[in-house]
C-alpha cells in the first residue's frame, strides 16, 4: 500500500468526499550524490552568510524579494506562508467542464486521488457522476503552502488530480514565429507524407519504449564496479535532404 501525500476532502455543494493523494509518477533518472573525490566523504551543503563568512542555521534564514540591486523586501517564512491560501484540506469543486476540452498542456503534475477512510460511497458517487458526464471538476486547494488550481477527473476506477497551469503560464503557439514555406505542400506531397505516416503507424504500447540512456548509465556503473572500462562512441550528424519528394519516396521504399 503506497503512502499518501495529503489527506483532505473534495467538496461539491454539500457533499464531502474524503480523499488521499498519492504521486502518480516518479522519475527513474539515475541520480548521483556528491562525494569528495579524495576520500569519498559525503558532501554537505551548508548555508553561509556572505557578509560575515559564518555558517547560518536554517532558523535565521529569511526570504528576500529583490526590488533593486542589493535591495530586498524581507519576509519571514511565516509571512510567505500567509499567502498560501485557505489552510483547510479542502478542494472545493466550483465548476465541471468537459474533460476532453482541457488541453493536457495545462496539466502540471498528476496525482492519484484515492478514497479516504470514511465516505467511500460519496467517492464512488462522484467518480461515477464524472464518468457519466465526461466532465472534470475544477477547484482550488492548498498543498505544501501554496494554492493550486486542480482538475479532478476519473481514470479507470480511480479519480486523478492534476495540478493546473494558469493561462499566462502557457505560451500561445502564435508567439513561436517562423517563416512559412514559399509554396504550400502540394497534393502529391501530402499523399506521400500520409503514406509515410501510415507506414510507421502502430498501437501505443508504453512498455515498448525503454529508457536506453538510463540503462546505459546503469550498465556503465556496473562495469565500473567490476573494474571494466567503457568504450567511447561517436556522433553521426544527419544528412539534409533538399529534395523533399525524393526523400519521401526514398523513405517509403
Amino acid at each position: 500500500m503506497p503512502r499518501s501525500l495529503w489527506n483532505g476532502t473534495i467538496s461539491v455543494g454539500l457533499i464531502n468526499v474524503p480523499v488521499k493523494l498519492y504521486t502518480a509518477t516518479e522519475s527513474k533518472t539515475v541520480h548521483f550524490r556528491e562525494v569528495h573525490l579524495e576520500d569519498e566523504g559525503k558532501i554537505e551543503h551548508r548555508r553561509f552568510c556572505s557578509k560575515e563568512d559564518k555558517e547560518v542555521p536554517y532558523e535565521d534564514v529569511v526570504r528576500g524579494f529583490e526590488i533593486g540591486k542589493d535591495k530586498y523586501v524581507v519576509l519571514s517564512k511565516d509571512e510567505v506562508a500567509a499567502a498560501a491560501g485557505d489552510p483547510a484540506h479542502v478542494i472545493d469543486l466550483e465548476q465541471f467542464v468537459p474533460a476532453d476540452d482541457i488541453d493536457p498542456v495545462f496539466y502540471a503534475k498528476t496525482y492519484y486521488a484515492g478514497a479516504g477512510d470514511k465516505g467511500g460511497d460519496a467517492y464512488r458517487l462522484l467518480h461515477d457522476a464524472l464518468e457519466r458526464t465526461g466532465r472534470a471538476g475544477l477547484g482550488r486547494f492548498t498543498f505544501h503552502d501554496r494554492e493550486y488550481l486542480a482538475a479532478i477527473r476519473p481514470r479507470d476506477s480511480l479519480l486523478l488530480l492534476h495540478t493546473m497551469r494558469f493561462a499566462d503560464e502557457v505560451v500561445p503557439g502564435k508567439q513561436v514565429e517562423y517563416d512559412a514555406p514559399g509554396r504550400k505542400p502540394d497534393k502529391r506531397e501530402v499523399e506521400m507524407a500520409a503514406k509515410l505516416v501510415d507506414s510507421l503507424h502502430e498501437r501505443w504500447k508504453p512498455g515498448k519504449w525503454k529508457d536506453e540512456y538510463r540503462a546505459s548509465v546503469l550498465d556503465m556503473i556496473e562495469r565500473k564496479a567490476a573494474g571494466k572500462q567503457p568504450r567511447k562512441p561517436r556522433e553521426q550528424p544527419p544528412e539534409e535532404t533538399p529534395d523533399l519528394m525524393a526523400a519521401l519516396e526514398a523513405s517509403l521504399k
Binding site: 461539491v12 455543494g13 454539500l14 457533499i15 464531502n16 468526499v17 488521499k20 498519492y22 527513474k28 550524490r33 556528491e34 558532501i43 551548508r46 552568510c49 534564514v61 526570504r63 528576500g64 524579494f65 530586498y72 523586501v73 519576509l75 509571512e79 499567502a83 483547510a88 479542502v90 466550483e94 465548476q95 493536457p104 498542456v105 484515492g114 478514497a115 457519466r132 466532465r135 493561462a167 502557457v170 505560451v171 500561445p172 503557439g173 517562423y178 517563416d179 514555406p181 514559399g182 504550400k184 505542400p185 507524407a193 500520409a194 505516416v197 503507424h201 508504453p206 525503454k210 556503465m220 556503473i221 565500473k224 564496479a225 562512441p233 544527419p238 539534409e240 523533399l244 526523400a247 523513405s251
Partner: protein
C-alpha cells in the same frame, strides 16, 4: 520571441527538418533569495566534506552511486561522457500512434518546435507534417537528446505548430494498485441526482477565467511588507466531515446550485456577502482597496466589505 533551448533536426523517414525547440510554458512564480535575518546579507551555499569538515572546491567533487549491495561507485565526468547518447542533434520519429491512445499522465514538459534555416524544402516538410498529423489525428513518437539526457517525446499539432512533449517512461508511471477506490456502486436515483448536480455546475473550459490567486496574494504580501505593514497568518480553518445522509445532501446541494445558476445570480451586487467564497470576497476587497485584506479571514472580509 524566447530563446531556443535546443536546435537540431527533426527526422522522419529520410526527411530532415532543421528545427529549434522553445518551451511552451513560462515560469510566472515570484522568486526569493535566501537572506541572513540578522544583517540581510545573501546566503551562500558552500560544499563541505563531511569526513574532514572542510570546504571542498567544485572540481574536487565527484558523482557517487550506491549499489544495492552497499558498495559505492564513484563516476567521473569522462565516464558519463562515454555513455552520453550518440545522436545529440536529431529528433528521430520512430512511430505514429493514435493521439487518443496516450494517457496524458505520461506527459511531462511541453515545448514547441519551429523550423529554422532558409531552405524551402525543409520548411515545406514541416508544414507537411503539421497538415498530415492534423488530418490523421496521429501523434509522432520519437527520441531526442537534450543536455546529455535522452527523452521519449510525443509530437502533435497545437496552434498550427508542432508541439513536442517529453514523456515519462512506462515504469515512471506508478501503479495505482492498492489505492482505495471507494465504496459500493451508487443506486440509480442517487447517481441521477449527482449527475444533475454536476450538470448544474457545468461550464465551458475557459483557462483565462482562472487566475493564480496565490501569486496575487504573494504580491500583495510583498507590497504590504514594503510599506511596513504587519502580515499575519490566516487562522486555521475547520475541516469538513463526510455527510451522513448522501441523498439529502445531494438534494440540498442541487437546490443551492440551481438557485445560483438561475435568476440574477448570487455573484451580482447587493447579495448576501456571507454567501461568497473568500476568493470572491477578496476580489471585491481588492476593488474596494480594503486595507489589510490579504491577511483577513472570510468573516473579516465580510465585515470589512459590509461596513464600507
Amino acid at each position: 520571441m524566447a530563446r531556443s533551448l535546443w536546435t537540431g533536426s527533426l527526422s522522419f523517414g529520410l526527411v530532415n527538418v532543421p528545427v529549434a525547440l522553445f518551451s511552451a510554458v513560462r515560469d510566472q512564480d515570484l522568486h526569493f533569495h535566501q537572506l541572513h535575518e540578522k544583517d540581510g546579507a545573501r546566503i551562500e551555499t558552500r560544499r563541505f566534506c563531511a569526513e574532514e569538515d572542510k570546504e571542498v572546491p567544485l572540481d574536487a567533487i565527484g558523482h557517487a552511486y550506491d549499489l544495492d549491495d552497499g558498495k559505492t561507485v564513484v563516476v567521473t565526468d569522462e565516464d558519463l561522457e562515454a555513455v552520453a547518447p550518440r545522436k545529440t542533434r536529431t529528433i528521430d520519429i520512430e512511430a505514429f500512434v493514435d493521439a487518443d491512445e496516450i494517457d496524458p499522465i505520461a506527459f511531462d514538459h511541453p515545448y514547441f518546435l519551429a523550423p529554422t534555416g532558409d531552405a524551402e524544402g525543409p520548411r515545406r516538410a514541416y508544414q507537411l507534417l503539421v497538415e498530415v498529423m492534423e488530418q490523421t489525428g496521429r501523434l509522432a513518437i520519437g527520441r531526442f537528446v537534450m543536455r546529455a539526457k535522452e527523452y521519449l517525446v510525443a509530437i502533435e499539432v497545437r496552434d498550427e505548430r508542432l508541439a513536442l512533449t517529453t514523456m515519462r517512461f512506462a515504469d515512471e508511471v506508478r501503479s495505482a494498485d492498492g489505492i482505495d477506490t471507494g465504496g459500493k456502486k451508487p443506486a440509480k436515483a442517487q447517481l441521477d441526482q449527482a449527475v444533475a448536480l454536476v450538470e448544474a455546475l457545468a461550464a465551458d473550459w475557459d483557462p483565462s477565467a482562472w487566475k493564480d490567486c496565490y501569486r496575487k496574494r504573494l504580491e500583495d504580501v510583498i507590497a504590504r511588507k514594503r510599506k511596513g505593514r504587519k502580515i499575519s497568518a490566516p487562522e486555521p480553518a475547520r475541516e469538513p466531515a463526510p455527510v451522513p445522509d448522501l441523498m439529502a445532501a445531494l438534494e440540498r446541494s442541487l437546490a443551492e446550485a440551481t438557485k445560483g445558476a438561475s435568476g440574477s445570480g448570487r455573484r451580482s451586487a447587493g447579495d448576501d456577502l456571507a454567501d461568497l467564497s473568500r476568493e470572491e470576497l477578496y476580489e471585491r476587497a481588492q476593488q474596494a482597496d480594503v486595507p489589510g485584506r490579504s491577511s483577513m479571514s472570510k468573516d473579516e472580509l465580510v465585515d470589512a466589505l459590509g461596513s464600507g
